[in-house]
Each structure stands twice: as structure tokens, then as C-alpha cells.
Amino acid sequence: MMARIGARLRKGSTAEPAKRVQFDHKTLPWMFLAPQLAVIVIFFYWPSVQAVQSSFYIEDPFGFGSAFVGLSNYVDALTSREYRRVASFTAVFTVLVTALSLVLGLLLAVKADAVIRGAATYKTLLISVYAIAPPVAGLVGMMFFDMHIGPFVRLAAFFGWDMRVGLDYFDTAFAMITVSVWKQIPYNFIFFLSGLQAVPMSIREAAAIDCRNGWTRFRTVVLPLLAPTAFFLLIIDITYALFDTFAVIDVMVKDKPANNPITLVYKVYNDGFRGNDIGGSSAQSVILMVVVFVLTIVQFRFLEKRIHYG
């Protein structure tokens, strides 16, 4: 979502009026804006300000006041071993989920673009998983990795791997990544496929004449044309891995995060709602906000310029 907006903003379409003709009216535009503004102010700005504010306080869990502690919540978060462990898992998790779902989504899109017969059926089948909610994906994944009934566990056992999802750190992480990638492939597939189908026939034909090797042709002609789509999806997938996988993780750790891997968002939730550490949880929220913010700015400013928009 953000990247698409980024692409729009960059084209400079934000500041100047879009229309040559517009209505001049003092109150009417505000009446049209009012409902949206009300919701945004109450449920976006107010809570965001409160998050920043409470990150500087230590609040009594029983509600008997709070004390200003400056940056100590941030220092506590960033220096704790637990936080670093979760942060490094989040990094590994995000890289793997993003990379795998991009590559597999692209692979399937290229193949679906190549076949003409049965294309509609493949498309429908591949897209359908998109609509499945992350917690449901988590539940279905749980069944496949269930110690008693899961076929994956049996398969793993055949290779001598004693898989214990929900108990063993590595095994749980493996299952979480598999399920999260599974859930995200259709999204990447849709965008890559529509990107591929937008490549003009003339370019394809010229490329086919110039270069007989399919892989080289793909790498030198198609891939650069797909770069904007890929970049957009990269940002989307990172955001997905950071935030939307919450439900997958929550279902898979079954409320027992103790010896299971979790991501930073899960820790914010866990510390805030379970641990009643409101200050610490808020500080972590703000750190995440900064991460997302930086991600957006990097996207707007730097990486963008390297990509050629046709």
C-alpha cells in the first residue's frame, strides 16, 4: 500500500490541485471531511500521541498513578537480552518470509504467464488462498504440524527429524515461516502476474529475437521491467511479515511464548496486555513506529531512484 502511495506522491500529484475546475465553498468541504477526520483523530492521532507519552512513564499496574522516567523504558528495552533475541528472530523471520514468498510468487507468475491453456484455472486456484485469514492459516498449519495427526511431522519423522511444533524453538519457527509464506504467495502472485501481462508484446518479441536463452532473456529484459512491482511487493511483504503474521504466531505458540519464537509486535502485545508493563510496551511500540517510518523514508528517497520507471 505504502509503495503505491509513494509512487503517486513522487509524481508530484499531491500539492497542486488536480482539477482545473473546483467548487468554492467555505463549509461544505469540511462537512465531507468531518466523518473521516473524527475517526482519524480519535483512533489514530490520540492513541499515537498517548503511546509516545506513556513510553516516558512507568505506570503502576494497578492504576495508582505513574512516574516519569525519561528514556529508561527505551534503554531497558534495547539493552535487554530478551528484546535482542526477539529482534533478531524478527529480522530472520522477516527476511525469510519476504524472500521466499517473493521468489515463489514470481516463479508461479512467470509460469502462469507462459501457459495459455488452463491459465484461468491456475489463476483462480492460486488466488483463492489470498482470502484466508492469518489465524485460520495458522490453525490449518497447526494441524499439518500437529504431533499426533500432522502429515508433516510424519514426513519429518521419516527423515529422522523429531518435530515438536509449539515446544521446540526451531521447529516452531520452521512451521511459522512455512505457514506465513504459504499465506503470502498469492498476493505476490497477483501483482507479479499483472506486472508481467503489462509487458508489451513488442518488447517480448524483440527480446525473443535478440536472445534465445530463456533465462538470460528473463534476467535482462523481464526482470528489470518488473522491478517497480518487485520493489512495491518487497515493502508490502516486509510489513506483512512484521505485523500481519501476529495471528499466525499467536495461534502457533498457543499462548505459551516462553520457549517459542515470537516477533516484536507479539512482544509489544505480550508485555502490554499480559505483563501489564504499559510503559515498556509503549516504548517498544514507538521503536516499531520508527522502524516502519524509516522503512517508508528509505523507500521514498533512496531505493526508488535506482529503479527505472517506464
Binding site: A51, M143, I149, P186
Partner: protein, 280 residues
């Protein structure tokens, strides 16, 4: 110009199997008894217990925690999905109309006020949002379930782009005919936006239906549980029992999958249009 090779089909078939098979197996397994599943594992062929399992899940009170039935959760999920989609469309059409069609001084500033919301997902400000909700006394209500999710500008962005692509001549003609801003909105903009509205409705319905974290925090009263929330509670019960109700858990998952997948598959064209069109 591409010559189709068997390898392409093999990759696609494997991909489709990888994506779709788990869902099919979830369904077929849910039609077996819990004991059968416990002994034989997940099932590829359908069993004989379809009516029984789904009947139980849909109607039995206390299947999970005491008060809520699957049918009730299904209804709550519908209310959340439809309410969210409709709310989103109404709010964002109005706001986008103001931003595109009115000349007023604060327009650019308002644009930024609204579009900043795209930068931060609800997940990062979940604690304080919860605080605001409880201050307003909106916990355990449909309003509380739906309205905070509306605090993001995705819909406004889509409609703004779409409105900008509508030719200026239409407005000029309408003004010559003496139409004011409200008339123009109702008689020209809304009818022109029909396909766009449909596309956004589908995306937003799926988004609302699939919400998990927010309903989980918001609803402690079981009468407001959605299917996603139900999945959480079935797992909590599951951990302790002798032979877990695999069949019921999977049946609930299938119920939670069906409506959004049906909507997306049936309205594929619009759905893809909504997702990708505004990217170009």
C-alpha cells in the same frame, strides 16, 4: 510467442497443490470423527460426519466456552466485514470528494493529516487504542469492533486517485446545468464509481472479516465473538483435552475460510482490478 512446456504446468500444478491442498484437507478431515482423526491423522477423502460436525459447530452452545454458537460468530463476522466495508467506502468517498473537488485553503494540510495514517498500522498503537476505547465505553460493542479499524486512509487514497481520473468536462457540464456540489456528487460521482465501489467493497470485506488482534482484545463478552476470535478460544480448550476436537476446530476454520474465499473467487475480476489498477 511462448511455447508452453510441460515443466511450466508441473510447476504450476505443484504450486496450486501446495496452496490449495491444505484447505481441501482441512475440509475433508473435518467430516470425520475426532477419534478417527486422532488415530488415522488428516484425511484426504471425505468422511460421513459432515452434517453432525457442522451441525454441532453451528448450533451447540458451550461447544467452546459456554455461551456462543458458531452461527452467532458467523453473524458477528458478517457484521464486522460488511460494516467495515460500508463504513470505509462512505467515509473515504466523502473525504476524497472534498479533497479533489473543492478549492479550500487547508486542503494540502488535510491531505497529509489523512494520509499519515497509512504509515502506521493499528498493531503498533494497539495498547493506547484499547485505552481510548475503554475510556469511551465502547468495549464489547459493534461500534467498538468496527470504527477504530476505519482509522486508516486506504479507501480515501483509492477514491482520490479514481476521482482525479474523471474528466474535468463532466464537472463543467454539470455546472452549466446548474448542479451544485451535492447534486454533482449524488448524480455523477456516485454512479460513475460503481465498479470502484464494488472492488473496494470486496477488498475491505475480506480485510474486516479477517481481523484478529483487534476483535481479540475488544471482545470479552462472548456474544460479540467473531469466527477469528472463536478460533482462539477453541485452541485454548484444545490444549487440555484428551482427544482434541480436531473435527470441530477444522469445521470452524472452514466456516471462517468460506465467505471471503467465495467473494474473492466469484468477483475475481473486480478484486484484482481493485488491487492492481490503482498501481498503474
Amino acid at each position: 510467442m511462448h511455447r508452453t512446456r510441460p515443466l511450466d504446468h508441473i510447476v504450476l500444478i505443484l504450486g496450486a497443490l501446495f496452496l490449495v491442498l491444505p484447505v481441501l484437507v482441512a475440509f475433508t478431515t473435518s467430516t470425520h470423527t475426532a477419534a478417527d482423526i486422532h488415530i488415522h491423522g488428516l484425511q484426504i477423502l471425505p468422511g460421513a460426519n459432515f452434517a453432525e460436525t457442522y451441525g454441532t459447530v453451528l448450533t451447540q452452545r458451550g461447544g467452546f466456552t459456554g455461551q456462543v454458537t458458531g452461527a452467532r460468530m458467523l453473524m458477528n463476522s458478517m457484521i464486522l466485514g460488511i460494516g467495515f466495508a460500508v463504513g470505509k467506502i462512505v467515509l473515504s468517498m466523502l473525504a476524497a470528494y472534498a479533497l479533489v473537488y473543492f478549492r479550500f485553503r487547508a486542503a494540502t494540510f488535510m491531505f497529509w493529516v489523512i494520509f499519515t495514517t497509512l504509515l502506521l498500522p493499528l498493531e503498533v498503537r494497539i495498547m493506547p487504542t484499547y485505552g481510548v476505547m475503554s475510556d469511551l465505553g465502547l468495549l464489547n460493542s459493534y461500534t467498538g469492533l468496527i470504527v477504530p479499524l476505519l482509522a486508516s486512509a486506504t479507501g480515501t487514497f483509492y477514491f482520490r486517485q479514481f476521482f482525479k481520473s474523471i474528466p474535468d468536462e463532466l464537472l463543467e457540464a454539470a455546472r452549466i446545468d446548474g448542479a451544485g456540489p451535492i447534486r454533482f456528487f449524488i448524480d455523477v460521482i456516485v454512479p460513475l464509481s460503481r465498479t470502484m465501489i464494488a472492488a473496494i467493497f470486496i477488498i475491505m470485506f475480506v480485510y474486516g472479516w479477517n481481523q484478529y488482534l483487534w476483535p481479540m482484545l475488544m471482545t470479552t463478552d462472548e456474544r460479540f465473538f467473531t469466527l477469528m476470535r472463536g478460533i482462539k478460544s477453541i485452541l485454548q480448550v484444545w490444549v487440555g483435552s484428551q482427544i482434541p476436537d480436531y473435527n470441530q476446530a477444522l469445521a470452524l476454520a472452514v466456516l471462517a475460510i468460506l465467505p471471503p474465499v467465495a467473494v474473492v473467487v466469484i468477483f475475481q475480476r473486480w478484486f484484482i482490478k481493485g488491487l492492481t489498477e490503482s498501481d498503474k
